[in-house]
Amino acid sequence: MLMPTSVPWADEESLGSFLERRRVSRREFLGFCAEITAILGLASTMAPQVAEALQAIKRPSVIWLQLQECTGCVESVVRTAEPTIGDLVLDVVSLDYQHTLMAAAGHQAEKALQDSMAANRGKYLLVVTGSVPLKANGVYTTIGGRTAKVILEEAAAGAAAVIAVGACAHWGSVQAARPNPTGAVGVSDIVKDKPVVNIAGCPPIGDVVTATIVHYLTFGRVPELDHDGRPMFAYGARIHDQCPRRANFDAGQFVEEFDDAAARKGWCLYHVGCKGPATFSPCPIFMWNTRTSWPIGAGHPCIGCTERNFWDSMSPFYTRMPNVAGVGVERTADLIGAALAVGATAGVVAHAAATGVHQIRARRAARELPVVSNAPPPPPPPPPSNPEGR
């Protein structure tokens, strides 16, 4: 989404009156709010609060930088699932700079960026796709003759919040895989003075991006994040724990070779390399492309693309992860995270510890503890009285 709706949301107009003017019924709007509330992992009783907050918000500017990347994350957001109302709410934003879609080019495009940054200083939302190459003084990615690093630093300085979309912006992704020829790093390696939300995945599911923006607009702060900056509402659960094929894992029913009799029954892909036991991602819950399917659902093992360093730590992709005991030993399956990534390069060891048991335990504990707010509230919308809803 983040597409231009051609129904403009006028300055200083509330979303409520805007929707009314667009002839979106109250019922449709509440239906959308219920859906977005579910995606955000909030109790359904929160839906009216989401609706109230959304109706009151004004339209903030969004600046979207595309740095060293493949445009796949933009394409993913363009495929976002929600119907017209979704376009609206995410169009809630005034998308002032976005290379793939904007009409202007050259210095007219750069002027649009500078004008928006100046007019909305301290208030705009910065979305970044792509990594930042640091070797050779940054000449591996330039726009308008300036390096990605300079452009990011300038745009981040005036941003209210920064959302790093996709594995490249998260940690560098494929170009940062061994031996990282261009010295690619993620946004949080450059932006240190404000919280960076990492929407992990190569690419992430577009709906997670839009839901994160809705969260920010609704609650006046970014969502609760895990140790790696990923929103808990999307990355709080392990694929292995949510997988419809988990029963086959527990029963010892495994695909041993693609297209074998087990594959034609839709059994567990762990023996052909599935990285679901070490991957935190909403794929099995949200699914892809208007809930059509997801990788394991289409018979291919998970490659772990929401985890930092997955190109090195999860490959070879078709090799079985070590030490996951079979049949129904839940404790051992939990431990897989710690053993994961093993065999990969030494630099990954710290990562393995971080994504392993510690993660799982921390998440379980987090559900029972009061949630600590992790971000300073940005300006526009007044947060509802009980922002957590937990």
């Binding site: 597409m3 231009p4 709706t5 051609s6 403009p8 006028a10 300055d11 339209r59 990347e69 493949c70 445009t71 796949g72 933009v74 394409e75 993913s76 495929r79 699932a81 005034s94 998308l95 002032d96 793939t100 904007m102 202007a104 080019a105 050259g106 210095h107 007219q108 495009a109 750069e110 649009a112 050779a136 591996y140 990615t141 726009i143 308008g144 003759g145 494929v174 895989a177 031996p179 990282n180 020829p181 690419p203 094929r245 070779e257 693609f258 297209d259 034609r264 029954k265 839709g266 892809w288 997801w294 990788p295 659902g297 289409a298 018979g299 490659i303 190109w311 490959s315 070879p316 992709f317």
Partner: protein
């Protein structure tokens, strides 16, 4: 005679990062240089990895043409290891690549290219009733009502009046180069919005077979999506019905919206049929095998080369004649800058020699100026893409292509030479989209017929285990992608990738000058009878560059981290 230096950076509404520098003289472009400003080094990353993983790495070269690198990579590895995929897997790949073409070309037309020809602001003064009459005269599309067009117009009106133009900020609205009447502008704006919803639906074909889009999953040896009509988690009647309906909606939109719009809009811009011709050499590697990929005769779009715009003769294409040069590119070769290397022996060592950033005007340096290498075929620059494919098909006697090209030329009242132009490039993209949209139901029917006959195989695992591989192997995977001829060359040694190289459509089209001073296709097109009325508002440059549909992340690549050159080239 006044000469003006022009810089357009960033070129927007493309994939990736592209800079154009030009010299404008008296309303014309006297000289032009195309600079790719991003380098990622993915093939260096691939050294030493499992060849069965290669598709996933190379797929991430591009998230727009998100299936083509993955399939080309599978084909390269399958060529190296002599793997023959089952017929069902070939059909499924054709469906996925075919739907990629259809979705990608439609999005290119409406969301990347249209704003070069369509003045959004002008649509405000349209008479929606008249728009509906015009639309009804060219298409039976049911949404083309006056009511619908009026609603879209009201939306645009409020949008413009708000003063917050979002992505439409600073567009070249009101530029004299815009020629469409307000009513046609309004039709195009309405379809811009409709196409956004449409693309989200039809691309789900990738999700059914590959689990997601962008970046659906593929598999060396076939496809991972097993077929079983009697299970829920496999390709069954429910999934097939979904596919069938997506194909129907894809074809309908192409025939009733995209194609009529394209022909109608082209009618107002016939002068662009004499602008932007370019190199005059065209290369198509061929695509959509109905049998094994090695059977060139089974390709739906034929393989071949056309030289010097001579449609009377189609030359054969042989991958051995491809070589890449770095005369103007920020790389080093161990044999020096004059060498041309075949991709099996490709070297890539980035070596930036440009000025320190920020740049103002690169060409003041008179040095190397891009991250793009210069591929040449028998020493010649070649244009690749829809125009190359349609010209080769036309000249090869492809009946369906000839009929549609003839229809388009007839409706525009122009001859075949009009194809060699900016407008011809854009028209050829539409023509091939119609052809592929008509192929989709045929492939679907083939798949269903095979399943009905009892064949559900989607994968051949005979060569899956590395123990079954030779100690050394090499392979070539080709795929004529939406933006043109794509090639992957892989060398495998001791079960791991030893060298991997891609020569990509945008590498051909965005290539810089070579040692002989031959321009690449972008540069040649921008200097072929090319106007530039107002250097401050270079809409003409955008028209011609967008007619190629640049994909810059694809174009720039690099290989051979070790710097080893494997010298014994045994020619295939």
């Amino acid at each position: 005679m006044a000469t003006t230096k022009v810089v357009v950076d960033p070129i927007t509404r493309i994939e990736g990062h592209l800079r154009i520098e030009a010299l404008a003289e008296n309303g014309r472009i006297a000289n032009a240089w195309a600079t790719s400003t991003q380098f990622r080094g993915i093939e260096i990353v691939m050294q030493g990895r499992d060849p069965r993983d290669a598709w996933a790495f190379t797929q991430r070269i591009c998230g727009v043409c998100t299936v083509v690198h993955a399939v080309a990579s599978c084909r390269a590895v399958e060529d190296a290891l002599d793997i023959r995929i089952p017929a069902n897997a070939n059909i499924i790949r054709n469906l996925m690549v075919g739907m990629q073409f259809v979705q990608d070309h439609v999005m290119h037309f409406y969301h990347l290219h249209a704003l070069d020809w369509v003045d959004v602001v002008s649509s405000l003064s349209a008479d929606p009733t008249r728009s509906a009459q015009i639309a009804a005269s060219i298409s039976p599309w049911p949404n083309n009502s006056a009511t619908h067009f009026r609603e879209v117009q009201n939306r645009v009106k409020t949008f413009v009046q708000s003063g917050q133009l979002g992505i439409f900020t600073n567009g070249y609205w009101g530029h004299p180069a815009y020629k469409l009447p307000p009513e046609v502008n309004l039709i195009a704006v309405a379809h811009y919005l409709e196409a956004l919803d449409w693309q989200r639906d039809v691309i789900r074909l990738h999700t059914v077979f590959g689990g997601k889009n962008p970046h659906p999953n593929f598999l060396v040896g076939g496809m991972a999506s097993a077929i079983n009509l009697d299970e829920t988690a496999t390709i069954n009647a429910e999934r097939l019905t979904d596919i069938h309906d997506m194909i129907r909606r894809a074809q309908r939109f192409v025939e009733q919206v995209y194609w009529p719009d394209l022909v109608a809009i082209a009618g107002y811009y016939k002068d662009w049929a004499a602008i932007g011709a370019g190199t005059g050499n065209y290369l198509a590697c061929g695509e959509f095998p109905s049998a094994d990929i090695r059977d060139i005769e089974s390709l739906y779009f034929p393989r071949g080369i056309i030289l010097n715009r001579e449609l009377g003769r189609v030359h054969s294409y042989d991958q051995r004649a491809v070589a890449e040069f770095i005369h103007s590119s920020w790389y080093e070769y161990s044999q020096g800058d004059a060498a041309g290397l075949h991709p099996y022996d490709g070297e890539t060592k980035p070596s930036y020699t440009g000025p320190p950033t920020p740049w103002t005007y690169l060409q003041d340096e008179k040095q190397k100026y891009t991250w793009m290498k210069a591929p040449r075929y028998e020493g010649k620059p070649m244009e690749v893409g829809p125009l190359a494919r349609m010209l080769v098909a036309y000249a090869s006697g492809h009946e369906e292509a000839r009929a549609l090209i003839g229809e388009a030329l007839g409706r525009l009242g122009v001859g075949a030479p009009a194809l060699f132009s900016t407008l011809g490039r854009t028209a050829a993209r539409g023509i091939e989209t119609v052809l592929i949209a008509r192929q989709l139901p045929r492939w679907y029917d083939d798949l269903v017929a095979r399943i009905k006959g009892g064949d559900v195989r989607t994968f051949d695992g005979a060569k899956w285990e590395p123990s079954s591989w030779p100690a050394e192997a090499r392979g070539y995977g080709y795929l004529d992608a939406p933006r043109g001829a794509l090639g992957h060359w892989v060398r495998i040694a001791d079960g791991a990738i030893r060298n991997y190289q891609c020569v990509v459509p945008s590498t051909w089209n965005c290539s810089p000058r070579d040692a002989q001073g031959q321009m690449g296709p972008y540069e040649a097109a921008l200097t072929s009878n090319h106007p530039l009325v107002d250097p401050e508002r270079p809409i003409e440059i955008l028209r011609t560059i967008h007619s190629f549909d640049p994909c810059m992340a694809c174009g720039v690549h690099v290989l051979d981290a070790t710097g080893k050159v494997i010298t014994e080239v045994k020619v295939q």
